[in-house]
Structure formats: structure tokens, C-alpha cells
């Protein structure tokens, strides 16, 4: 097997980044220091990768020298020789090797122990908190409708210049973070289906038919809410389907993407990034992180799919010259409980890490890791509010008024190189 170092030399990332091979390992922070003077990029795109089901933070970034970790995790613990060290306390899950080069180059920031007060252990309540950036009151979960935090970001942009496809959401339903009535969101489930069929036999009639249908969807019909919902979706469908199809036909990936769903979804975003000048936000999700049972195998497979897909995507967009225009952020509704259950898995927990990738990201570790000895009813106590991470990407990366969007002031983390 290749050593990690020699793998790194051959990796796509080493080639495209055009940088020298790092002589110090790890050296995220050192690289970051050189980065402070990078020119601001004209486009700022945020790509969200959601890890659905509650990713096990402790087996993602492993405290491999902490005895408490081994006491709590037992058979589910990863051993020091398995992990890829980040420093002498923490290491990557071995299946994250594909993204390790991004860490080495200082392109990966890890915010540790993210969470919020009064954590919910319900997937849906917790997701709702993250998606709509709400403050739980500690008593009752409030799942509601309304715009998501990224929907609110899009809503405050100038509607006359926002364009037809400001956001691409890959999946069969709209990600609630992106929910907005005022902004067209393109939800792409599969490329083949993402087009409007015509009546091929009666072409002229079919054209008039489309004009009529389009106009019909713009005609108010006694129910402003429904008119807006249906009319907006139809317009987004019409514009988005043309844009996405044309981009796909014209795009040639610079790398071979892994044969996985996540990679396929990210490829659609790469196409959008390259051809769609209006794109501001992209969203993909990978499910299955709810590892109540058989965790070692299942979690490993998921992290492999995640890291390989992100590495390929990053290499591809870099090869197309967009490396300064994109920041990728991960999130998951909660981490998992430190002690394992009897089914070879872990139950719902609280705090976990957030990853941010990008050329403009100052790589390194941020925030404090959650303590394994000072627990709250068996669960981790968060150390960084997730909304500080949102504030960071909103204010420091997208240049948006974070306080308004997040309903309060959350201190940004200095992990973006430009636009201070």
C-alpha cells in the first residue's frame, strides 16, 4: 500500500493546486498564515454537504490518545494505528484519507464541538434548529415553516440581479435551509427527469401549449399563497431545467468521479458552478449516519463515500479554475453519544465537528473539542455555537448581514482568508 506521503505526491490536489508539497506535516496553520493576502474572489459560492442522521463526530475526528475515548467506546473505538493523525491528540477516521491532502494544504478548517444550548435528541427538531437557525427554549421543540437560513440569505440579495438559478438543491425534496417563497430554488432529483416534455407529434401546438401553461402559472387565482408557491416552482423549473441541461451537455469533468450518489450529485453542482454565473448556493446530502447498530462498518462506508466525493469535486472545480470561488461546509443535526449501546452502535448525541473546505479557508482546528469527562447526562457539552459558523460564512465569505439572517449576534470565527 502506498504511504500517505507518496499518495499525496501523486494526488490530484497536489497537481491542481500548483503548490509545493508541504514539508511539514501537519501544517494547516502554517499555510494559512501565508494566505492572508489573497485577492478577493469575484464570485462567492457556498456548497453545503449535509450528513443526515447524526454523524458520529468522535469517530470522524478521533481523540486517539484520550483514555476516556477508549473507555466509552469499547469495541467501537478506532486505535492509534488506524487513524490519520492531525496532531498528537486528534486523528482522521482512516476512510477520510481522500481529504487528508486538503488538510495538509491548509484548505480544511475543522470547527470542533459545535452545537447549541438545550440540544434536541430528535432528528427532526434538531434539523429544524439548524435549518432555520432558531434558538431552542429548552422546553419544547418547535418545528415550523418559513424560510431557512440560506433562503433568508438569498432573499436579501437584489432580486433584479439574482438570476434564474441562484441556488441548486440536489435531491428529491427542497432542503429546508434553502426554503424561500421569494427566490427560485432549483431542485434537481435526477438529470434525465429534469426537463419539460413536449408533444413531439404536434410541435407548433406544443409550443403554444407551453406558452399558455407558463402564463397560466403566472395568473393569480384566488389564493396568493398557492399562486406564489406553484408559480415560483414552475418558473424555477422552466429556467433551471434549461440551464442544468445545457451545462451538463457542455461540461467535461477534469477527474473521474467515484461511482456514488454523492459524487454524482456534486458533479451536477460542479457543472452549475462552471456555467451558471448566478449560482450562490449549492446543497447536497448524504443519508445513513444514524448508526444505532453495526456502526463500524456503516460509518466507514459513509465516510469513504463522503471523502472521495468531496476530493473529486474539489479537484474538478479547481481544474476548472474555480478554486477561489467556492467554500464547502458540512453539517449534521447532532453527534452521537460517547458511550456505545449493545447493538454495536451509538444513540443520538449532541455536539460534533463542522468541516469547511476551500482555498480561501484558513485551515486548522478551531474551537475546543468537547470534553469526554465532563458530560451532560452522558452527552457531550458543545463548545462552539453552530450559528458562529453560519455567521462566519455569511459575513466573512458571502458578505451578508449575518445578524439579521440569524436573529442575533454570533461572533464569526476567523477562518476565512479574505474580506475581513
Amino acid at each position: 500500500m502506498l504511504s500517505r506521503r507518496s499518495f499525496l505526491k501523486k494526488s490530484a490536489l497536489a497537481l491542481v493546486a500548483g503548490a509545493t508539497i508541504p514539508s511539514v506535516f501537519p501544517r494547516g496553520v502554517a499555510v494559512a498564515a501565508e494566505r492572508g493576502s489573497l485577492a478577493p474572489s469575484p464570485r462567492r459560492i457556498l456548497i453545503i454537504v449535509q450528513l443526515k442522521g447524526g454523524n458520529d463526530g468522535l469517530n470522524t475526528i478521533v481523540p486517539y490518545t484520550d483514555d476516556s475515548y477508549y473507555d466509552l467506546r469499547g469495541d467501537l473505538a478506532l486505535t492509534p494505528d488506524q487513524v490519520i493523525p492531525l496532531n498528537d491528540e486528534l486523528g482522521f477516521h482512516p476512510n477520510l484519507s481522500a481529504i487528508a491532502p486538503l488538510w495538509d494544504f491548509g484548505n480544511l478548517a475543522i470547527v470542533q464541538g459545535t452545537g447549541y444550548p438545550y440540544p434536541s435528541y430528535s432528528h427532526f427538531v434538531a434539523m429544524d434548529y439548524w435549518e432555520r437557525s432558531r434558538t431552542p427554549d429548552g422546553v419544547k421543540g418547535l418545528i415550523g415553516s418559513g424560510s431557512g437560513w440560506l433562503g433568508k440569505y438569498l432573499e436579501q440579495l437584489d432580486p433584479t440581479t439574482i438570476g434564474a438559478v441562484p441556488a441548486m438543491n440536489i435531491g428529491s425534496k427542497l432542503a429546508p435551509e434553502l426554503a424561500s417563497r421569494k427566490v427560485p430554488i432549483s431542485t434537481v432529483r435526477s438529470l434525465n427527469n429534469y426537463q419539460l416534455q413536449k408533444d413531439r407529434r404536434y410541435r407548433a401546438i406544443s409550443e403554444t401549449r407551453l406558452d399558455t401553461l407558463h402564463a397560466l402559472y403566472k395568473t393569480p387565482n384566488n389564493n396568493p399563497d398557492m399562486d406564489q408557491l406553484l408559480g415560483g416552482a414552475f418558473q424555477a423549473a422552466l429556467d433551471g431545467s434549461i440551464a442544468v441541461q445545457e451545462a451538463h451537455a457542455a461540461y467535461t469533468p477534469a477527474v473521474t468521479y467515484p461511482d456514488t450518489n454523492l459524487a454524482e450529485d456534486l458533479l451536477l453542482l460542479a457543472e452549475g458552478i462552471h456555467f451558471n454565473q448566478d449560482l450562490k448556493v449549492g446543497h447536497v446530502a448524504i443519508g445513513g449516519f444514524d448508526t444505532h447498530a453495526n456502526q463500524l462498518a456503516e460509518h466507514g462506508v459513509l465516510l469513504l463515500e463522503f471523502s472521495e466525493a468531496v476530493a473529486a469535486f474539489w479537484a474538478d472545480i479547481a481544474a476548472h479554475g474555480h478554486q477561489d470561488e467556492v467554500v464547502i461546509m458540512t453539517w449534521s443535526e447532532f453527534g452521537r453519544r460517547p458511550d456505545s449501546n449493545a447493538s454495536g452502535g451509538t444513540d443520538h448525541g449532541s455536539a460534533g465537528p463542522i468541516f469547511l473546505f476551500g482555498n480561501q479557508v484558513i485551515g486548522g482546528l478551531y474551537g475546543e473539542p468537547a470534553s469526554l469527562t465532563n458530560l451532560d447526562k452522558k452527552n457531550l457539552k458543545f463548545t462552539t455555537d453552530f450559528r458562529s459558523v453560519y455567521a462566519t460564512v455569511l459575513e466573512k465569505w458571502l458578505g451578508a448581514p449575518a445578524d439579521d439572517i440569524l436573529h442575533g449576534r454570533f461572533e464569526p470565527i476567523p477562518l476565512i482568508a479574505t474580506n475581513t
Binding site: 502506498l2 435528541y121 406558452d211 395568473t219 477534469a254 449493545a342
Partner: protein, 541 residues
Amino acid sequence: MTPSQENHTDQSAGSPSSITRRQLIKGATALGLSAAVLGPLLAACTRVENTMTVTPVPTFPPTPAATPIPAPTFAPRPSPTATFQPTATPAPVSQPTATPFPTPVPKAATIFEADTSNLTDRQKVSHVLRRAGFGYSKSDLDRAESIGLKATINELVDFESVDDSALTKRIGDAGLDFELRSELRRWWFLRMAYTKRPLPEKIALFWHGILTSGLTKVGDNYAMIDQNNLLKDRGMGSYNELLKEIGRDPAMLIWLDSRLNKKKAPNENYARELMELFTLSPGYYTEEDVRESARAFTGWGTKGQKDKGIHFLFRTGQHDNGTKVFLGEEGNFDGDDVVDIILRQPQAARFITTKLWEFFAYTDPEPRIIDHLSEVFITSDYVIRDVVRALLQMPDFYSQKAYRTQIKSPIDLVVQTVRAMGFDDNGKRFTRVPDAMGQTLFDPPDVAGWPGGEAWINSSSMLQRANFANSVALWMSQINSEGVSLPDRDELMNLLLDGVPDPAMEAALDYFEAETKGEDSFGIQRAILYLFLAGPALQRG
């Protein structure tokens, strides 16, 4: 909870790529080449980029395309006002019915005593047939209008009196192969599309969104069939019994990991979702209640092998016989005790009656509606049928807030269209259609089922809804063969829009007919059918 397969429901569990470094090195090699030609490549990309602007679809003449704010496009018609214009229909004929019509709670007046709805009789029966069933053919609707609302509701609710043998024959003739997952969907599709007893199927669909399980994790077609039968056969009965049954249901035991719930280290998945998603909702129990009730369910497991019959098995040795403190009560509780204790919480009745009202009527019901339905529910000892009967009789069910205000689920859209168009079909061509719109039966996106309502609508599902209309227009032409006329504009208006003038639709059709004057008349008919089915009005029901 369970792996959420939102993006790709066909993703086979545990089979992502096995490629590791090899693949990446391959990519790197490929990139080495492209790096050498990166300059020209990027130049080429830039060239293409310049031509890649989004081409706006030509918009209807009166106004320029204005994205994303919808603007009035058709000249508003002067005549019909916001209220519906009743067509000249006879008053409902009240017929003596075989079964007496019980009014479980005296307080709230029924639609028969206080009709404040403003709907025509045809609108009322069409509404109840859409919501409590899967729509109607022209003859179904005409018949319902003639027997009246009361008799229509009685036939739906007291369905045992209705002969459904034609369905049994159709299912038998369908040649279903239950080894295939898609055949489970065809099986259920045929039942929904062709049963004369639609309410139990509708209730099964309701429960499938709540007491849900998914093939992706369960992995056993027969277990899913059993669960589906349970939801249909017991779904109108006692909620208490249904909850006790679902806790022993093999598909559920797999789906929420109950079978892994052992005395030594309880697995909380089932206990949590029982309270969060099936009975109470967050805020009505504590984390301690989750832990304690998980102990009560320890030992509820399965026996048997996949595809060879999986059954419930109580593993005494894995059951925790200790004392539990749960929702303020203390004792050596087992799973059935937990269900009984939960149902003693006032919130349990409010929770499920709200779910029922939202499924059948509209979201965010007024508290007085839930007060009434909860009372009916508790008085009837938790019988679902009594609540459904009561809600179908409430004047609020026929209010402007309820009438045609729901986004049709993909299943409703497809099955109602099949019924309206009178397709006599084996179901094969329809089975996969709802998948593309975001609803794959037997494979919910996660343990909370489908979010439903407005969440059905996004740009992707919008395209699929329009494309389904295109397919239906084509299939109808094939069935009717050339020269045979498709339903015309007035017939469609009467069938699909309850015969009530729809100014937007009328304006659109006037425009379309003017613009296509002189074109092939069959092509025009086909397009008119498409415009009805693909238009905004029929996305609501």
C-alpha cells in the same frame, strides 16, 4: 432513526464505491494530462461559458417575463367574483340509509345541521371523495351528487356494506410477483385506483406516513406486505390496539431497531419515535422517559430469516423486569403498559386528531376543532373510524379553508387522474410515476414519513407533474385511437373543476384556442387535456 435516502431511494444499502486510492490515483493521472492542456481547456470553457446563458421561454404576450414575482398575465375576467357560482343542481336528496348515522358528540353541529360552506352539492361530494378517497370517474361523481353528501359519507366510512369483489378479481388477474419491490407498489396502486372502498386505503396511506417503515432498511418484501395489511385492516379501528400491533410488527421491529433493544444496553430508537412521531410530539416527555420506556420494550424481537417469514418474538431473557418511572407512573412496565400510559396523556388524543385533520382537511387547525375531535376520540375509546366520521361531518371540513387548498400528494395526483380519466389498466405504467415526484411507497424518506403539503412542490416535482400530464394526454389518445374525441373543454371543466367557472383556466383556454386556430384538431384536444392536468388548479385538491 433510519438512514435517510432522500436523494436516491433506489440506493442499495451498503453498496457505495469500493474504490479507494486506486481510483484517486487514476483521477490524478487523468488530471496530469489535463493539467498539461489546462490553458486551452480553460480557454475553451470560457468560450462555451459565453454562450451558456439561460434562454428564457417565450412568455405570453401581455406582460414580459418577470421572474420570480408572479404577475397577472391574463386579462382578468369581469364576471365571476371570488365566491363560487353555484351551478343549477338539485338539492341533495336525503335518503334513508341502512345504518343509522351516529352523532358521537352532541355539542358541535354537523354540516347537515349548519351548512356554512358556500359550496355546491357537487363541490361537497367531490371534495369528500377526493379527501376521504382517491377521487372519482364521471359516473362516480354524478352518482355521489345524486345520493347526496350524507349517503356518500356513509358509504365511505361504513365501507363494509360496499361490494368490492371486482377489485379482488383484478388483483388476482394482475399476475403480481411479490419478489419484486416495484410489484408491492403496483399492488397498492391497483387497490387505490380500483377499490370501491377507498377510505381504508386512504387511512393506510395516512398511517404509512406515520407508523412508517421502509424497504431500504427492512429489506423484506413480505414483512412490508404484512405491515401494509395491518395498516389497512386495523387502521380504522382502535388506536390503542394498532399501536400495540405495530410494536410487534416485524417490519417495524427491524426499521426502528427494536429487535436490537436489549436489557444490558437498551436501544432507544423505537421508544423515542413512539412518543415523538407516533403519539405525543417533542415537549411532552423527557429524555428520562425515553430511556425508561426503552427499557420497557427490551426483549421485543424477531425470529425467522429474511424472505422466509419473520415473526415477533418476545425474548424473556433480554427483557428488563425492573421498575421503570415513566410519564409520572411507576411500575414494572412492558411495551403494552407504555402504550396505555401514553394514551392516558391528553396530548395523545390531540396529537393524532390533529394529524388526521391535517391529512384530511388543512394544516394548523383551530383549537376548537381539535377540542371536538379529541373528545370524540376519547369518548369512543380511541376508535379512528369515529374520528374520521366526525371530521367529515364538520362544517369546517367544507369551508373555503379546506376546499381545494391542499397540494395533492403524488399518489393522490396519479390515482385521482387515473380514476378521472377512466383508465382500465394493469397499473404497470403508473407505478413508478409518483417516485419521480418524490413519493416512493414503501420507502419513506425517513422515519417521519413524507413532510407533505407544500413540501411536495419544488422545481423538480413540478416538471414531473407536468410530464405526467403529457404522458396521460398521450395514453388517452392511444386508448381512444385516432379520430375518437378526447373529453372536451366543457366536459373537463365539469369533471375536474366541479363545474365551477375558473376564470384563469377559461382565459388560458381562450388564448390557446385563438392561437392554434387552423391547427390539427386532435392535437388541440390533446393539448387542452394537458393544460387541465398540468395546470396549477389540478395540483390542488
